[in-house]
Subunit: 399 residues, 2 copies
């Protein structure tokens, strides 16, 4: 809109393209269509989004030894699928998940709950699974009832896609079925030390994590003795550390399924690295984003204070526009930090404690740092710049 760069294609290079991600050694990448043994996925265009877009997908684990963990948004006005997963899902034994994009089924009242249950039950019946072993996730506009006939009519086609494409390109279609304003699919399949891990994520706007305001699905054939602990740890270092617009979605869901069929444990740091790269993909694809900033605060009174200050800086529209304009405006960082601790006195903050030079000099990934002198608390948050395209997308995107 104004000569500023904006991305319409993902950055080039391997999946682990961020300098902030440190994957374990010895990885080999698969085609993203490859799922671990025991998993199938599929995606079809059922008509929610229109224009032939793939908008209904599922992932199924055929092993009844599956172990799983799911994390759901903490938004107090959570959507129907979140409530269904919260209330009646066997969260440790999730066999399948059904996902639609184009409609979040949020703020849709009792009807919304019925619709989410209906989607879930329909897939469960067709697959011969207990309804409580099927998760449901939805993303898209808020406040509009699902066209249930459209969704239900699409499920047989989805099931036949699952059946016809076991281990084939279903995972690719699934990764496309979950996209809304995303510019590129976020997905990976890799193997290391005898295990396979694949993941598909989506997210571009309404991103600031309670833990995570997006959808992410991870499958592995590794043995996970405590999938919830593993997932919580990986999410705390990834989806909990990103913001695009400081907005927490009503629909965020992260699901990890482990079939255990490889008989081997998950290598250290693998899940952490995959989720961090996917989280950074989401920031990098933040609505209209052209750059990603890593805001680090050290020397805060405690970790909670460090989080507060880092998030205030990361969400400041003045900092985000400075990132766009490549203006190393450390005064805006000082202002935001001072606002985060309003009512206290942290003295004046100048360039001796603020590193902002990367805003001007850095590339696509820029580092900002603030060093306080109040204690040992530290935290970091990843953020995107604020561009004209954010406004175009959000002033013209209609419910």
């Amino acid at each position: 809109m104004s000569g500023y760069p904006s991305l319409s294609v993902p950055p080039e290079g391997d999946f682990f393209r961020s300098k902030w991600v440190d994957p374990p050694k010895g990885l080999e990448f698969n085609d993203p269509a490859v799922l671990p043994e025991g998993f199938r996925a599929g995606g079809v265009a059922c008509g929610i989004q229109g224009k032939g877009a793939t908008d209904l997908g599922a992932v199924v684990c055929d092993s009844d030894e599956v172990r799983s963990a799911i994390l759901l948004t903490s938004n107090a006005a959570a959507a129907a699928p979140i409530r269904v997963c919260r209330d009646s899902l066997w969260q440790g034994e999730i066999r399948a998940v059904i996902v639609n994009s184009g409609n979040a089924n949020a703020a849709t009242g009792e009807q919304g709950i019925e619709d989410a249950l209906s989607m879930r039950n329909s897939l469960a019946t067709d697959l011969g699974l207990a309804p409580q072993s099927v998760a449901v996730a939805e993303t898209g506009v808020i406040g509009v009832p699902l066209e249930m006939e459209t969704v239900i009519n699409g499920i047989p086609e989805l099931v036949s896609d699952l059946e016809g494409n076991a281990g084939l390109s279903g995972a690719v279609r699934f990764s496309e079925a979950i996209m809304t304003t995303d510019k590129w699919p976020k997905r990976v399949s890799l193997r290391v030390d005898g295990i396979t891990l694949s993941a598909q994520a989506k997210g571009a706007g309404m991103i600031e994590p309670g833990f995570a305001t997006m959808l992410c699905f991870v499958q592995t054939d590794a043995v996970l003795t405590n999938p919830e602990a593993a997932l919580r740890q990986a999410v705390s270092g990834s989806f909990e550390r990103i913001t695009v617009d400081g907005q927490m979605s009503t629909n965020d869901t992260v699901l990890l399924q482990a079939s255990g069929t490889s008989g081997k444990e998950l290598p250290d740091r693998l899940l952490d690295a995959v989720l961090l790269q996917l989280a950074l993909e989401i920031v990098s694809d933040g609505e209209g984003a052209s750059r990603v900033g890593r805001v680090e605060v050290t020397g805060a009174a405690d970790q909670e204070e460090a989080e507060l200050v880092a998030r205030k800086i990361a969400n400041s529209p003045l900092v985000k526009t400075a990132l766009l304009g490549r203006d190393p405006n450390w005064g805006r960082i000082a202002q935001a930090a001072g606002q985060a601790l309003a009512g206290q006195d942290i003295g004046e903050l100048g360039p001796e404690v603020i590193e902002a030079g990367d805003i001007a000099g850095g590339g696509r990934e820029a580092e900002l740092a603030l060093r306080l002198d109040r204690g040992d608390g530290s935290a970091h948050v990843f953020t995107s710049d604020l561009t004209h395209e954010y406004i175009v997308i959000n002033a013209e995107y209609t419910t």
Copy 2:
């Protein structure tokens, strides 16, 4: 940038042009150059801003019976002038204030404190006042030391402007001297029930009140027995209720001076109405703003909760872009409210409790309302829309 309207002139009509302001009856407007008896003001172009812009101003009360109150930002990294006013000002007996625009003298360390004291002392000496009876306020870029030679050289000219223009056009020049990214001066002079009240304000960006993120100066010849209580009440209903970008400045200052020479008390609601209209001018002139929204939350558990929810909605970039796009997207209001109360459960919020129709149908002033069912807490906040121009201003405005 995209066919959206943006204002470059103030809205037309009388000073009290907002539908949300209810001034007392019987008002008559003066030319904005008219100050109450006993006050003088002036403004000169000393060269801080360059291009001949008026950038140094002062208001003086000639009565040593003056009563005053001053409210200062609670930003924890407050600027030098704030610290000077906090530490060594006779806050109840302020005779004069000196203000510059173009440089906030924030994050300028010990030198900044010395410079603010030097400005203050220089004016005090020239006017024969005690330094502790002179306030200092500054606004503009952060983190750049004041060019003190420029400022100090401008003070004699400022003093001669004050002397030569007692009661003449000095107040108009003063109202211009305090402007930065403002598109129009914010000022008024009026009389009612035998008293005169005048005010000058500035503010367009970095606006969200701890109490108020802007500068405002009010003069009256009314008798004020408790100026601090009067000012706090008026500010709590005005500058504390606005946001443009959710950013709290390091330099906010509101000063009220009352000479008492009329021998009459201030009419009820007058100060409240003037400060509310000035606050709404600031939102209306918010960087790039084309519309003002009034966000009301009722039925919250308590007032604190209502504030939290109202501010989350008012600062949501999704709500602000919906206001721009005239998209009555109540789902975004539901999402923001749910985020404000994350971790709790307030159920799904739909159109039965959210009024957003004014976003599409309303004019320049649109009303948004959310009715919760948790208690008697209520609060309202005024906000601006988020436009392309905000990004142009803030991605290209350099330290």
